[in-house]
Subunit: 369 residues, 2 copies
C-alpha cells in the first residue's frame, strides 16, 4: 500500500483539508468526483472534465462488468487508458446497483445473483468477484462489496451490516494488487447503535480509507447528517472518509462540516440532462420561458466555461430545440459548481474560516434570485 | 461592401486558393464550413469547433426564423454573440428547407407559404423577408432566396431558375446592411443550357460571391461534376464560389478540381450521430463488433482530438452503450477530416501539386483498410 498516503493538511472544527496521494496523482480534499458510470462522464470529453477542475472520476463496476466487461477493459490497458483519464479513478463495488435491482436479484451469504438490465442474462457478483473485476478495471481507489439495506428497517439493516462486515473481510483477502487502495464501507441504516458497531468493526480491519454507504437513499436529511457525524466520530482521523453518492451543495457543506473528505454523485450530470442548473442560490430550470431573452449567465459569480460564454437565453434555446449541447453545457456548469464548492471549502478550512463560510453559504442556498 | 475582399492567392489548373476577408476575419480557401443548423454545431461546444480547425460555421435561416426567431437573436446581439462564435458565419436563405417541405408549402411569384414543422402554424418567406431575417441574424455571408427544383425536371428547373433570378434581384434591392456579403445562387438543375443562362444572369447582378445551388440532391455524380465545371467556367474568377450542401471527401476534391472555394454539409455531424466515421479510406461503422478490442484510433494518420486520444474499442463501447460522447467524438473526427482535407488541398494548390494530390487521394478513398 506504499503507493498511497494520507496527509491531514488542516482541521477546522470537524472539517478537514487533506491530501491523498495515489498512483495517478494527489487528491486535495474536500473533493467532489464526477460520475462516469460507463467509463464516460455523460456528454463530456475527458478534456472538458479536466478543464472544469475535476481531480478524480468515479466509474461503476456494475455497468462495466456487464458492458464492455472487465476483461476487455484490462486488455486495453485498464480504465485510465480506455477512457483516457490520467488522474485518479474510483470504482464502486457494484453492490449498490445490484441491490437496487429489488425485483430481479437474489442474495445469499456468498454473494448476489441478478438479472442483467442489458440482456436479461443471470449474472453473479460476490466479494471475491467484485474485487477481481475492480482489479481488472484498475482504478486507484476500489470499494468493498457491501449490502445497502433499506435505511429505516432495523432488522434488515442489522443483517445487511453484518453481511457487509463478513464481505469486507473477504474483500481484503481477495485483493492481490498493491497499487489500488481498497476502502471499507460502513453500513447500518439510520440506527446509531448499528452505525457505531459498523464504524468500529470496519475501522478495525485496516483499510487505507473508509466510506459511509447507505445514505441519501430516502432517509431524512436530519437522519443523514446525524449518521455522518456519529460515524465520523468513530472512524480514525488518519484515513480519508468518503460519503458515497451525495451531491447537493447543501449536503457537501453539511458533510464537510462533519468530517467528510470525498464525495461523488450522478446528480449534477443527471440534472443537466433534465435541463436543470445547480447554483449556489438554488436550481434553475432552463426550459422556463422566462429565460427566453435573459442575457445573464446561469450564475454571474461562476467561473465555468458555460457561464463565461453563454446566456440563459441561448441555453434556453438549446433546451427548447432539444440540442445535445444543452446537456454538455449544463453538465459543465453543474459539475464545476460542486467541484469548485469543494475547492472553496478547502480554502476556508486552510484559513480556519469554515464555519463562517458554511453559515453564509447555506443561508445563500436558501435564498432565490 | 468595403468590409469584404477576395484575393486569389494561387491557381493550379482550375483549383483555386483564395482569401476572403470578412468583418469576423479571413477565410483561407478552399474551406469546409460545419453546419450549426439551430445556432449550434450539434454535440460540440464552439471551443471544440474552433479547436478542430473550423474557420466558419453555417446556420439555417429556416430553423432560426421559426425558433427562437430572428428578433430574439438580434436582441441578444446577433448570431455571433448568441452562439458565441466569433469567426465568420454564413446563413442560408431558408429556401432549400422550405422547398423541401413538398407536402406543406405553396409557391407563388412573391414567395412561399409553408407549415412550420414545430407547431404547424403557417409561415411565409419571400426574398424580402429572407433578407430581413438574415440581416437580423447578422451573419457575415448571407444568401439570396432561391428556388431549388427537382434537378432532372427540365420545365420545372427552367421555371424555378427564372423565379430564382427575379428573386435574386429583389434580394439585392431588399438588402440594407453594409457589413454582410450577399451571395447570388445559380440554379438550373442538371441542364447545361439552363446552368449557363443562370450563371450568366446571376454573374451580371454584381454579387460579391456566387453559390451553386440545387446539386447533391439526387442527380448522378457525373451530372453534378459536369454542372460544377460548366457553371464555374462562366462565373467570374474574381469572386468566391460556394458549392452548397456538398460534403463527402470525394466531392470536396472534385469540387476544388473544378474551381469551388467554399463547401458546407450536415453529412459529417449526421454520420457521427449514426455511429459512422468518415476517413480518407472510406467509412467505418463503429457499431461493428469487429472493433470491440481494436486498440487503433479511427484513422492513424488523423490529427484530431478523437484520434489522438481514443481507440476504436472505446468508441465502439460508447456507441454500444448509447453514450452521448460517441456523437461528440465522432463529430470532432468527421469535421476535422473535411476541414483538414480542405486545408491540405489549399497547401497542394499553393505548391502547384493539386492534380497529383487529387489523383492519389481519390484512389486512396476507393481502397479499404
Amino acid at each position: 500500500m506504499t503507493a498511497f498516503s494520507w496527509t491531514l493538511d488542516a482541521r477546522d472544527g470537524n472539517a478537514r483539508a487533506g491530501t491523498f496521494t495515489t498512483p495517478h496523482g494527489k487528491l486535495s480534499t474536500p473533493v467532489f468526483a464526477p460520475v462516469g458510470t460507463q467509463a464516460t462522464v455523460k456528454s463530456l470529453t475527458p478534456a472538458q472534465v479536466e478543464e472544469l477542475g475535476a481531480q478524480m472520476v468515479l466509474a461503476n463496476t456494475y455497468h462495466l462488468f456487464l458492458r464492455p466487461g472487465e476483461e476487455l477493459v484490462a486488455g486495453l490497458g485498464g480504465l485510465h487508458n480506455f477512457m483516457r483519464w490520467n488522474k485518479p479513478i474510483l470504482t464502486d463495488s457494484g453492490g449498490f446497483q445490484v441491490f437496487s435491482l429489488t425485483q430481479t436479484r437474489k442474495i445469499d451469504e456468498d454473494g448476489v445473483s441478478f438479472k442483467s438490465h442489458i440482456d436479461g442474462s443471470i449474472k453473479r457478483l460476490s466479494p471475491e468477484t467484485s474485487i477481481q473485476v475492480q482489479e481488472k478495471l484498475g482504478a486507484d481507489i476500489i470499494m468493498a462489496f457491501d449490502e445497502c439495506a433499506v435505511p429505516t428497517d432495523y432488522d434488515y439493516s442489522r443483517l445487511a451490516m453484518r453481511r457487509t462486515h463478513a464481505w469486507a473481510r473477504r474483500c481484503l483477502e481477495a485483493k492481490t494488487r498493491g497499487d489500488q487502495a481498497l476502502f471499507g464501507i460502513v453500513q447500518g441504516g439510520v440506527f446509531s447503535d448499528l452505525r457505531a458497531e459498523s464504524a468500529r468493526e470496519i475501522s478495525a480491519m485496516g483499510f487505507p480509507g473508509h466510506a459511509i454507504g447507505g445514505l441519501s437513499v430516502g432517509e431524512s436529511k436530519a437522519d443523514m447528517y446525524r449518521t455522518i457525524a456519529e460515524v465520523n466520530s468513530i472512524l480514525p482521523e488518519d484515513k480519508p472518509r468518503y460519503l458515497m453518492g451525495v451531491g447537493t451543495p447543501e449536503d457537501l457543506i453539511e458533510g464537510v462540516r462533519r468530517g467528510v473528505d470525498i464525495f461523488d454523485c450522478v446528480l449534477p450530470t443527471r440534472l443537466a440532462r433534465h435541463n436543470s442548473a445547480m447554483t449556489m442560490r438554488g436550481r434553475l430550470n432552463l426550459m422556463n420561458a422566462s429565460f427566453a431573452r435573459d442575457e445573464r449567465p446561469i450564475d454571474s459569480g461562476c467561473g465555468c466555461y458555460t457561464c463565461q460564454q453563454f446566456s440563459r437565453a441561448y441555453l434556453r434555446h438549446l433546451v427548447n430545440a432539444k440540442e445535445m449541447l444543452a446537456a454538455t453545457l449544463l453538465s459543465i456548469h453543474n459539475l464545476y459548481t460542486l467541484v469548485h464548492l469543494a475547492e472553496t471549502m478547502r480554502a476556508a478550512i486552510l484559513e480556519s474560516n469554515f464555519e463562517q463560510f458554511a453559515r453564509v453559504t447555506l443561508a445563500q442556498l436558501q435564498s432565490k434570485e
